[in-house]
């Protein structure tokens, strides 16, 4: 252990001691949430090809706990919108979002999910998925590189680490 690694080690030890004295329950609960994020695959269009590459052996996103759980939506906590959402699919996306239990997070992946992308003036495309869902992380690119996905995932983990245990409360519209 040289000077650089001992610095990191002491920093981590300090963080753990601080949390275990000050706020142990929140630290443990959030740690469990961060390293077991299970995604819902909403593979729309071109960006799903890069999602396949991210789950593959070279860029392996399972190192951070994001397991490709091909089960039901009622067991998942992250909704990744991969690509364009159009007017026929929009009610179904809202239904999927309502089926997930709290706490849940939404990632908008690709230019089409952020703002409509290349198809911003089409008659059938929503100008961004944040017109119907609350989005936590935006990842830009057409399609984004896998390294960008991993950076966005770490940003989401930092956001969860700093949040309260109780799930978000926001005004529900009828």
């Amino acid at each position: 252990m040289n000077a650089a690694t001992s610095n990191v080690f002491v920093g981590k030890l300090n963080e753990i001691l601080e949390y275990s004295v000050k706020d142990p329950l929140r630290y443990i609960v959030n740690w469990g949430r961060i390293y077991s994020l299970w995604p819902v695959h909403l593979e729309t269009a071109c960006c799903s090809v890069e999602w396949g590459a991210v789950s593959g052996p070279r860029f392996d996103v399972e190192r951070w706990g994001m397991l490709g759980a091909f089960g039901a939506m009622r067991q998942c906590d992250v909704l990744i919108i991969l690509g364009t959402v159009n007017r026929k699919m929009a009610p179904r996306v809202k239904t999927i979002y309502d089926q997930m239990p709290e706490p849940k997070y939404v990632i908008a992946f690709g230019a089409c999910a952020i703002s409509g992308g290349l198809y911003y003036d089409s008659y059938n495309v929503l100008p961004g998925v944040d017109t119907i869902l609350p989005v936590d992380i935006y990842m830009s690119g057409c399609p984004p590189r896998p390294e960008e996905f991993i950076q966005g995932l770490i940003m989401l983990q930092n956001k969860i680490r700093a949040s309260k245990i109780r799930s978000k409360k926001y005004v529900r519209d009828t």
Binding site: R87, K88, D121, S122, Y123, N124
Partner: protein, 166 residues
Amino acid sequence: MSETPEIKQQLPEREKKIADNIAIKLGKDVLGIEIKPKRIKVKIKYKCIKKAANYFKTELNLDHIVSVSGIDYPNDNEIEVVYHAGTYERKDLRDLLIALAYRIPRENPKTQTLIDIWPSIEYDERETHEMLGVFFEGHPKLEKLFLPEDWNDKPPLRKDFKNPGR
């Protein structure tokens, strides 16, 4: 530097022979034939579409359709429907595509379906119906294919339908 267009030599032999046969068989119904290497376009009157399609299927052995397109010409007040037909059985004609084109009035675009001759065009005619408003009589299921179920605007591919913001 741009390439100068090549001087058109005499028309290709095989295509010219087939075009002459079509002109003899269909007679006065043919409004014009355009010949290019490997592509023939036959413009006919709308009323004899079934007779021409039967001739293509039985005599020339064109057993499948490659595409059905609709083109909107608001200046002439007409819609043109084009069928491109090809063959798998006859190996010497595999690279040839023959197009059958006719025009119908824009206000009342009603025409007959060719699904009993070529059963592979069920979804193509449905798409032309929802995108341009052409009504094919005799089609078993003329509903929306790609557009949302609650679409109540003009057919999108017409020239007077503008994309939002344009």
